[in-house]
């Protein structure tokens, strides 16, 4: 399986949109609403790319997008508590085609991000490297209940550890962190 991992830029921003909106829905109104959500995301990503630089990577199989990982500096989320570290927050990782899940593409995306962050200086941190990558509560406490154990296992397998001291306004704790 020839998987390529690429940064998302303004030129290939469409590769990030396709997987997120791929599920076919039985009701055209619902499909339209989800598609409109995808357009809102495109607007947000366009602004984020200019403001933060790279904030997503896409996995390509035979040149076609099959998954992505999305990440932002914690400061992009003004409702979150302040963190005195240079922290990137993974907000989404998705391999949308079920036939391609559990084949290591998600782990490839995570490791491509980590390897990149170990050597890349980031505009958003004034030219310094990130110190850590974190997963919000969606990866351990909230989100789809049936998926949480799988999410958690996935991130632990890929080197993340639970940090009970990580600031969490929900009080639920269990934020998963990878120290770079």
């Amino acid at each position: 399986m020839n998987i390529q991992i690429k940064d998302v830029t303004m030129e290939n921003i469409g590769d990030l949109m396709v997987p997120a909106c791929a599920p076919s829905l039985d009701n055209p109104n619902h499909a339209r609403t989800l598609k409109e959500g995808g357009l809102r995301k495109k607007e947000w990503i366009s602004k984020a790319l200019q403001k933060y630089g790279c904030c997503a990577k896409v996995a390509l199989l035979e040149g076609k997008p099959v998954g992505f990982i999305e990440f932002y500096p914690m400061s992009a989320f003004p409702l979150l508590p302040k963190r005195d570290k240079r922290t990137l927050l993974i907000t989404c990782i998705l391999v949308h085609n079920r036939a391609l899940q559990k084949m290591g593409i998600g782990s490839m995306l995570v490791h491509a991000l980590i390897d990149d962050l170990k050597q890349r200086s980031l505009v958003t941190f004034n030219g310094q490297r990130a110190e850590e990558v974190a997963i919000g509560s969606w990866g351990c406490r909230t989100g789809f209940p049936e998926s949480l154990p799988r999410f958690r296992k996935f991130f632990l397998k890929n080197g993340f550890v639970e940090d009970q001291k990580f600031p969490d306004p929900t009080g639920k704790g269990g934020i998963l962190v990878y120290r770079l």
Binding site: L25, N27, H30, R32, E36, R40, K41, W44, T91, C92
Partner: protein
């Protein structure tokens, strides 16, 4: 009577927007959904104001909305008639009554 719906979503996640309109996945393959009321708001002629919470954190804090800021799926919709927030059920009951439609 002034009817308005305020929708709060995280702009980084299309599902946050989808869920805010009560779109919901009802099966494992995400192929069937239920509850999405966006089309009905349009047919009822309701004013809809959408807020990307990443760009309007002050409003989220001012309204003290119960949002999990770590969860990109987080979302919320407020149903308002004559500046008073009411439940979704009451909102649609009143709006359908005005339109002469039966509540399902």
């Amino acid at each position: 009577m002034r009817a308005k719906v305020e929708v709060f979503y995280f702009g980084c996640c299309p599902y946050s927007y989808f869920f805010a309109y009560d779109g919901g996945f009802v099966d494992q393959t995400w192929t069937r959904t239920g509850g999405d009321f966006k089309a009905e708001l349009t047919s009822l002629g309701v004013e809809v104001v959408e807020y990307n919470m990443l760009e309007h954190p002050d409003l989220v804090q001012k309204l003290n909305l119960p949002i999990d800021p770590y969860n990109p799926f987080s979302n919320l919709a407020r149903f308002i008639i004559d500046d008073i927030e009411i439940s979704k059920e009451e909102f649609f009951r009143k709006m359908r009554a005005i339109k002469g439609e039966k509540t399902p």
